[in-house]
């Protein structure tokens, strides 16, 4: 089960890896707890223990990297009411910044003072051949929406453009700094910029709004990552196909696919010459279909893409806690079988 980050790099160069490669944003505790015994984790530092738990999970399932959440201090404080018992929340709930006064009073996180030492501390647990892929504390658009509320932001884009400029600047400049810092670490092999831009039929902001407020920051983020000679990957959901060129001009890999918008098979056919297609088996499909169907679709996709490459197998979004482990493992098994590591992984799964 030897991990080899170069295999993922080959995919990101839009070439064919020597064996199937897996890609996931993150899984959930049901998965991590199946794979890792708490006794294996360092007891002195809870934050590092959490990160090592993920790292070992990714390793044991056959990935060549592990994703890494950003440090707590980098998150933009949410002043909205919390309801942790609930499953979902509304994109309108952020709405605390709707005036210059609120903008100035907001407790902006101090990015000049963030401790990134976890990127070194976890290296002793990093199996040979594996690298880290840090993700961001939300993306530029996501964070701005969380600060203003979606509908409020739409009104502000007409009513107070200067405030919108200031908001994107305040968030974007911090995220550029974050990626610049994390990309420079030796343990980091690539960075994941996570920013949901679309929904079922179009983008959440109009292309002209995106061009004015959003895309310049994504160009800067990818540049910050490229400055350390690392590939930049974008996780973005929804129907972003009309603005796909903006993605492929800045990023080496695109993650997130939905059958109701464009099935990953079609996305690969259309775009794999332009950008590496990462993940893609629709979350809804994985829940609704049988294990056998999930396995067969995943395997067919791996076989279809084997020669030309530019593809890594994964879910369309992430592995949410309502996606049963068996379905997730059925998808992975398609890659394990082709790599001849099923017995080895099954052993780790107990």
């Amino acid at each position: 089960m030897q991990p080899d980050f170069n295999e993922l790099l080959t995919v990101l160069e839009r070439k064919s890896p020597s064996r199937p490669v897996l890609f996931e944003f993150y899984m959930n505790d049901n998965v991590y707890d199946t794979l890792v015994d708490p006794k294996e984790l360092p007891s002195e530092d809870e934050d590092i223990a959490e990160r090592v738990k993920l790292l070992l999970s990714f390793y044991r399932l056959g990935y060549d990297y592990a994703t890494l959440l950003p440090p707590k201090e980098s998150f933009f404080p949410e002043l909205r009411e919390h309801h942790d018992d609930r499953r979902t929340y509304s994109l309108n709930e952020g709405s605390h910044i709707d005036s210059w006064k609120a903008f100035e009073e907001y407790p902006w996180p101090d990015y000049s003072d963030i401790d990134y030492s976890y990127l070194e501390k976890v290296t002793s647990y990093l199996p040979e051949g594996m690298k880290l892929i840090p993700s961001g504390p939300g993306g530029v658009e996501e964070v701005v929406i969380s600060l203003t509320g979606y509908e409020n932001l739409c009104y502000m884009m007409v009513d107070d453009e200067d405030l919108v400029d200031a908001l994107f600047e305040a968030v974007g400049s911090r995220l550029v700094k974050y990626y610049k810092e994390v990309a420079a670490f030796d343990s980091v092999g690539a960075c994941l910029s996570n920013d949901d831009w679309g929904f079922k039929t179009q983008t959440l902001l109009s292309p002209s709004q995106m061009e004015r407020w959003l895309i310049p920051w994504h160009r800067k983020i990818s540049q910050a990552i490229h400055d350390s000679h690392k590939p930049a990957l974008l996780h973005t959901c929804g129907n972003v196909y009309p603005v796909f060129n903006w993605i492929s001009e800045s990023y080496e890999g695109k993650h997130s696919y939905e059958d109701s918008i464009l099935p990953v098979e079609d996305a690969w056919e259309t775009y794999h010459d332009q950008i590496a297609i990462l993940g893609g088996i629709d979350v809804n499909y994985m829940i609704m279909e049988s294990q056998q169907n999930v396995y067969e679709r995943s395997r067919a996709l791996l076989e279809r893409t084997a020669q030309e490459g530019s593809f890594a197998l994964g879910t369309g979004n992430s592995v949410p806690d309502y996606l049963p482990n068996d379905k997730y493992f059925a998808m992975l098994k398609a890659a394990w079988d082709l790599r001849g590591i099923t017995a080895e992984v099954s052993h780790a799964l107990g």
Binding site: T88, C154, Y155, V158, P242, S260, I287, Y322
Partner: protein, 213 residues
């Protein structure tokens, strides 16, 4: 004399203040409320709906236009009642139990209002029984459910079942939508209608109301 096309244009451009003023001017000039409603406000929203469905405009533009429509509606609302102008149908809308997403639901509600339907918005995290009670008390033609995750989408089946259990299935149609929802899921749970976008949802709702009543 206020030109209804001009009113519709202003609405499409999201000029809430101007729409309000022009609507008031039209009322003062004695133009019938029905004309202001149909040829000015709803006609403007109709264009917005078509453009949105064709991806010629985007949600932010829809929201701005809907805000302008509401500004005009506020002026004529009391007159609609005075003139006994009936709505074209009643829709009870909500995001299903366990789900708190509301952007899509709000848009569907706006577009339905833009078709002249009365929309009762129950908010998010709405239990099947709440849909039923509201449908009965408001004499609704349609229950419209929104959901964004597969895990909450399953609640829609419970709403369909609750409608049958309450023997409302003759008079109330169930419409469903949201990110993971598809036509085949609609068939599976035996709901009455599905659409992938808010503008089509409003068109279908209007057709269903015409059939129901």
């Amino acid at each position: 004399m206020v030109d209804m096309n001009a009113l519709s244009e202003l609405l499409q451009r999201g000029k809430a203040k101007d729409v309000k003023e022009m609507t008031q001017q039209a009322v003062d000039e004695g133009i019938s409320v029905q004309t202001i409603l149909d040829d000015g406000l709803l006609s403007g929203m109709n264009v917005i709906g078509v453009k949105f469905k064709n991806n010629e405009i985007f949600v932010p533009e829809v929201l701005i236009a809907a805000r302008a429509m509401n500004a005009g509606m506020e002026v004529i609302k009391p007159l609609l009642i005075d003139n006994n102008i009936e709505s074209r149908g009643v829709v009870v809308i909500g995001t299903v139990k366990g789900d708190l997403h509301d952007i899509g639901k709000n848009l569907v509600g706006m577009m339905m209002r833009g078709k002249g339907l009365t929309v009762i918005d129950l908010g998010t995290d709405v239990a099947p029984q709440t849909f039923i009670e509201s449908a009965i008390s408001n004499k609704a033609d349609i229950i419209a459910c929104s959901a964004l995750l597969t895990t909450t989408m399953k609640e829609m089946g419970n709403v369909v079942k609750a409608v049958k259990d309450a023997r409302l299935d003759e008079s109330v149609k169930v419409m469903i939508g949201g990110a993971p929802v598809t036509e085949s899921f609609k068939d599976m749970i035996q709901a009455d209608a599905y659409s992938s976008d808010a503008a089509s949802a409003a068109e279908i709702a209007l057709q269903l109301c015409r059939k129901v009543s």
